[in-house]
């Protein structure tokens, strides 16, 4: 076991993949010469050369589509879209091709494509650079969506995605890159579709993923000081969603708060809430609550951005109110 950053863990996985499988190659904006916009692919161009670490023009739709074509042609491309904000330019290829080619061809084709994107706000980058749209992507059948929150999963999901015959989209929250965690570099791929209980408790289930895991754990610590033991679940995968783990937790705690950086309306949290209602109705002592981003394009000023994003205080307050009203 080594302590390494989330960023280094991803790089470790990319390096291992490039070394062991000649079909793997990276493709994206500034992944090569620049070393990666978030320094994830730093050093890989020098190690593996420009055929395998390819800088692309600013043509998201086309280089993602080229990733699809290359996957159809027997390669294992890892396409990097610099951030989810730019992925909007590639939605046609993602939704109309990556997600559909298997089905539209009656099962003849499969698209073993891996796409990595940085997501999330909190760095004062304002309205066009702060989106959390992984919930939108989780709406589409035909693709898989993973959201690693810790370094070990950041590494493990790259390996898992490369083994998956279907398109896998990995969303990395921008604030997580410098986060340190324990990583076993001998470990195999992480399990796509399995959520994990990161903290056990009996008073309420706090359900979250990705960039808000840290905030949620800190909220749990604060509540513990008041004698309220919260259970924290890291979803790790949005599609397919691990409903079983969620329901098992709610069966123990009887209360749920979902923490999601997406905007509240039509958020992924709404989907989780619906599933709890469908499968855990009789376990609930209180309506499911959601702590999401405020319904506003991300403002620039720090205090405003902080007010827009899910914070420890909002999560703790939601739990307290729930206990008071429905204790």
């Amino acid at each position: 076991m080594t302590k390494m950053t989330y960023r280094d863990a991803i790089r470790s996985a990319l390096r291992e993949a490039l070394r062991t499988d000649p079909r793997v190659f990276l493709m994206g904006e500034d992944v090569g010469g620049y070393g990666g916009a978030f320094k994830v692919s730093y050093g890989l161009l020098e190690e593996f050369g420009p055929e395998r670490v390819r800088d692309t023009p600013l043509s998201e739709n086309t280089f993602l589509g080229a990733g699809i074509g290359a996957a159809l042609g027997g390669m294992r491309p890892i396409v990097e879209i610099m951030t989810v904000n730019f992925s909007l330019l590639a939605l046609d290829q993602i939704v109309n091709n990556a997600a559909t080619l298997r089905h539209m061809s009656g099962g003849q084709l499969s698209v073993p494509l891996v796409v990595r994107m940085t997501t999330g706000g909190g760095r004062q980058l304002a309205a066009q650079h702060s989106h959390s749209l992984e919930g939108w992507f989780a709406h589409i059948p035909g693709i898989k969506i993973v959201v690693p929150a810790v370094a070990a999963d950041a590494r493990g999901f790259v390996l898992a995605a490369l083994r998956d015959p279907d398109p896998v989209f990995i969303f990395e929250h921008a604030t997580l890159y410098p986060l340190e965690g324990e990583v076993d570099e001998q470990a195999g791929p992480a399990a796509i579709g399995r959520a994990l209980v990161r903290r056990s408790g009996d008073a309420v289930s706090l359900i979250t993923y990705g960039g808000t895991l840290g905030t949620t754990l800190r909220a749990a610590d604060e509540l513990a000081r008041e004698g309220v033991e919260a259970e924290v679940i890291d979803l790790r995968t949005l599609r397919p969603l691990d409903t079983e783990t969620i329901l098992a937790s709610v069966a123990r705690t009887h209360r749920a708060v979902i923490v999601d950086e997406g905007w509240r309306t039509g958020s992924f949290a709404a989907e989780v809430s619906a599933r709890i209602m469908e499968g855990g109705f009789y376990s609930l002592d209180a309506p499911v609550a959601r702590v999401c981003s405020a319904e506003v394009p991300m403002p620039y000023a720090k205090h405003m951005e902080d007010a827009a994003l899910p914070q420890v205080s909002a999560i703790a307050t939601a739990v307290r109110e729930m206990l008071v009203a429905h204790g």
Partner: protein, 321 residues
Amino acid sequence: MIDRAHALVLLRQMMLIRRFEEKAAELYTLGKIRGFLHLYIGEEAVAVGAMQALTAEDAIVATYREHGQALARGIPAGSLMAEMYGKANGCSRGRGGSMHFFDASRRFYGGHAIVGGGLPVAVGLALADKLQARPRVTACFFGDGAVAEGEFHESLNLAALWKLPVLFLCENNLYAMGTALARHQAQPDIRRKADGYGMPSAVADGMDVVAVEEAARQAAAHVRRGDGPFLLELRTYRFRAHSTADPELYRKREEVAEWKQRDPIVLFTARLQAMGILTDADVASLQASVDGEVDEAVGVAEAGPWEAVQDLTRDVYTATP
């Protein structure tokens, strides 16, 4: 000189496409084929001529107006007809319909309904071939409408930049659905757009199957040599509406009539007869043969089974063993 045997192949393929499309039009009015139907009537020379330049190893990406390419590629007419009926014995198991023909065994990658949507996929297929050092060509068919999409420009740029083996084939039938070329392109000379990407290009008469074949062979040779992508513009015309739903308010009947005088099948037949290598009996025999093949295809479609509704969600993901 044209070799008679080869000429008969070309003529028969064009006649097969023509008869298949006419039959499809009829079946649509009877409600056997549903959704959208985009007919290739008038453009047969393009698919047939271009396909001569491709080998079984090469890949094809096409548009929603892909019946001609599919038939010329050798996908059985019955399989295509069944697909349009929505039957389980269709080439895409009935999941795609007229706009989404796929045949992995013949490297036929669709059937794309988003204008321009196939170009990036073609670029990727070519990239895979280059990275694995396979000397194959990826032929990408698209219409004049697609040249307005960003994907067209991005794809030409990327293919040229990375010197990928893509044969870009623009079927310029002068209309993007209802919008004439001159009304949507500041530079209507399509082949010139390749200049902006440092890519070689050519243009050929899309109503002359021999000219198309000739131009396609040259272009494919360039690509196959490893000299990078090529843009070949084929100037053609569709005799029917954009799809079945189109009352064609955007073009004059006189224009259609004028182009019909350059019907590729009529032109080729006349030329071969003038050369003395084709007789009326040959024509009648070919017509009977393609009529029979299309009728048989309808039979295959009529007899085909419907997929069970219980199988609705299969093939969304690859089932893990």
